[in-house]
């Protein structure tokens, strides 16, 4: 491909021969090894499997909005805001990377990017890129203790609701804590079933959906973003109930097969249907309100 003058009009290409080259090399030196470790470590597990996807989407969103961010008129660098942010990020990184605290190590990337934008471009660019930066929050691995603390009550609640629904429709089911007893089978509602991480993945996907669709209505956007939390809960209840029923009717083997093959799929299908359903209802509601005023 020949290098043409037109190509340099693209801010992404111009960035290659600009001061951005230096921090880009710095970012690679800092976070290259971090992401390499993540990809060979916890991003391989089911619970954190959404990490690389979120990273990829964030990078793509950054790439997509980059020219727009670099072309904000009247944008001036703010070094006095930028340097404290950069120092903070560097400190977080050094501490997090050396002591194995992922929330600091990976979280520092966000502060670093915000600082660099303020240093080399200004608040206008930051404002344009807020969504991809915000989206990156979802790829930061949470500390295990926090995940446990939040997951336990969710597990109990999921088990409780699943048991009650199945009991009401006449199944011989009982529950002790997070252990469901149906017929001769005993099922333990595991961490993965209650899914703090599925909640995160769904919330991330939902926000991405909202960002790409770009509804004009703020009410509808916010409402849907908030609704994803109960939707994720319902999807998990549906998954546990489906698993319980398959085990009850077709035996333990079928249940285990389902667990490893299709449980995740059912979860996301259920969530997707619920999200589209909620979105349609919201659209009706917003339109109705719009017509009334």
């Amino acid at each position: 491909m020949a290098v043409t003058p037109e190509m340099f009009r693209d801010a992404r290409v111009r960035a290659l021969a600009s001061p951005w080259l230096l921090p880009a090399a710095g970012l690679l030196a800092m976070y290259g090894p971090s992401f390499f470790d993540l990809l060979n470590g916890i991003w391989r597990t089911d619970e954190q499997g959404h990490g690389p996807i979120v990273l990829g989407i964030s990078l793509w969103l950054l790439y997509r909005s980059w020219p727009q961010a670099m072309a904000v008129p009247g944008d001036r660098p703010r070094p006095l805001v930028a340097w404290p942010l950069l120092l903070l990020a560097a400190g977080f990184y050094a501490l997090g990377r050396s002591q194995g605290i992922l929330i600091l190590e990976i979280g520092s990337l966000l502060w670093m990017l915000v600082g660099l934008l303020m240093l080399l471009r200004g608040p206008g660019a930051l404002k344009t890129l807020w969504f991809p930066l915000f989206f990156m929050i979802f790829m930061i691995p949470l500390p295990g203790a926090l995940v446990d603390a939040l997951t336990q009550p969710m597990k109990l609640a999921v088990s409780y609701v699943a048991e009650n629904i199945l009991y009401r429709v006449g199944y011989p089911i009982s529950r002790t804590g997070v252990i469901l007893q149906i017929g001769q089978y005993q099922l333990l509602v595991a961490d993965a079933c209650a899914g703090l991480h599925t909640l995160f993945t769904l919330e991330a996907l939902g926000l991405l959906y909202l960002n790409l669709v770009r509804h004009a209505s703020v009410v509808r956007n916010v409402a849907l973003a908030v609704l994803i939390v109960p939707i994720s809960f319902c999807a998990n209840v549906i998954r546990v109930m489906v698993l319980t029923l398959i085990t009850f009717h077709f035996g333990d083997e079928a249940g285990q097969g389902f667990l490893h093959g299709f449980a995740g799929l059912v979860l996301f299908m259920a969530a997707l249907l619920l999200i589209t359903g909620a979105d349609s209802l919201l659209r009706l509601g917003v339109r109705h309100k719009g017509a009334a005023t």
């Binding site: 970012l27 950069l86 050396s98």
Partner: protein, 246 residues
């Protein structure tokens, strides 16, 4: 325009220096001395006596069948585990469980009983902090009450992270960080005793008596292994630790 561009290059170069500095600092701060190297030859099975101070191992204690998934998790988390049931002077039964992991980092951290029991379906009620006297120091003990259906299981436990015996999860992190910044990768040990009893107060007293008796009965090295300290400042110039340093 030209001036702005020059300032930009200067700022960008400054940022690059800062970032490379962060990379170097992270490398320098990374702990490399494994405290576990000091105890690699200590085997819990042999170090914890079968009989001591009126207590003896219950030979008929039923062997717990652990489901395979659980066993796989235990094996990745811990280098050594010990589970025994002891019968006391008055015929009381105390279940002892010790788990030892060589490196306290991220996914390999000791799992606290608060989390483990709940994951098994128990409802957990955190009890008071207590302590077991040992050689003029007080070993902090956390009390819990686990319930599942009609089963009531009072639990007392402590955790050692490297040099520190710690009662709570937050301190587990603080302690790991503190020792990490000194260049040590701390090992971790969970010492847990529990009884099946509907009378928690009596059970806790019984458990603390068992703990004190056991600490008294073991040799000094095992005692340090159980309640610390294990670090080189207390066993100076240990060559095994130097061998693991970079």
């Amino acid at each position: 325009m030209r001036l702005l561009s020059n300032a930009m290059w200067r700022h960008a170069a400054g940022a690059l220096v800062l970032m490379l500095g962060a990379v170097v600092a992270a490398q320098a701060l990374t702990p490399r001395s494994r405290l576990a190297a000091l105890s690699s030859d200590l085997k819990l099975e042999a170090a914890i006596p079968d009989t001591f101070g009126g207590w003896r191992v219950d030979p008929n204690a039923f062997v717990q069948v652990i489901n395979p998934q659980q066993l796989a998790l235990l094996n990745t988390l811990y280098a050594q585990t010990l589970t025994r049931t002891y019968i006391g002077p008055a015929g009381e039964r105390v279940m002892l469980s010790i788990a030892y992991g060589t490196a306290q980092a991220g996914e390999l951290e000791l799992h606290r009983p608060e989390v483990c029991y709940v994951a098994q379906g128990f409802a957990i009620q955190a009890g008071a902090h207590s302590s077991v006297p040992q050689d003029g120091r007080a070993v902090p003990v956390q009390r819990l009450l686990a319930r599942l259906g009609g089963r009531s299981e009072p639990i007392s436990y402590w955790m050692r992270v490297g040099d520190d015996v710690i009662p709570s999860g937050v301190q587990q992190q603080v302690s790991r960080l503190k020792q990490g910044l000194r260049g040590w990768i701390p090992d971790g040990l969970l010492f847990r005793v529990s009884t099946l009893s509907a009378d928690p107060a009596a059970a806790y007293a019984q458990q603390e008596r068992f703990m004190a008796d056991l600490l008294q009965a073991v040799d000094p090295r095992t005692r340090r292994f159980l309640i610390g300290p294990v670090s080189p400042s207390h066993t100076p110039g240990d060559p095994r630790l130097a061998a693991t340093a970079p």
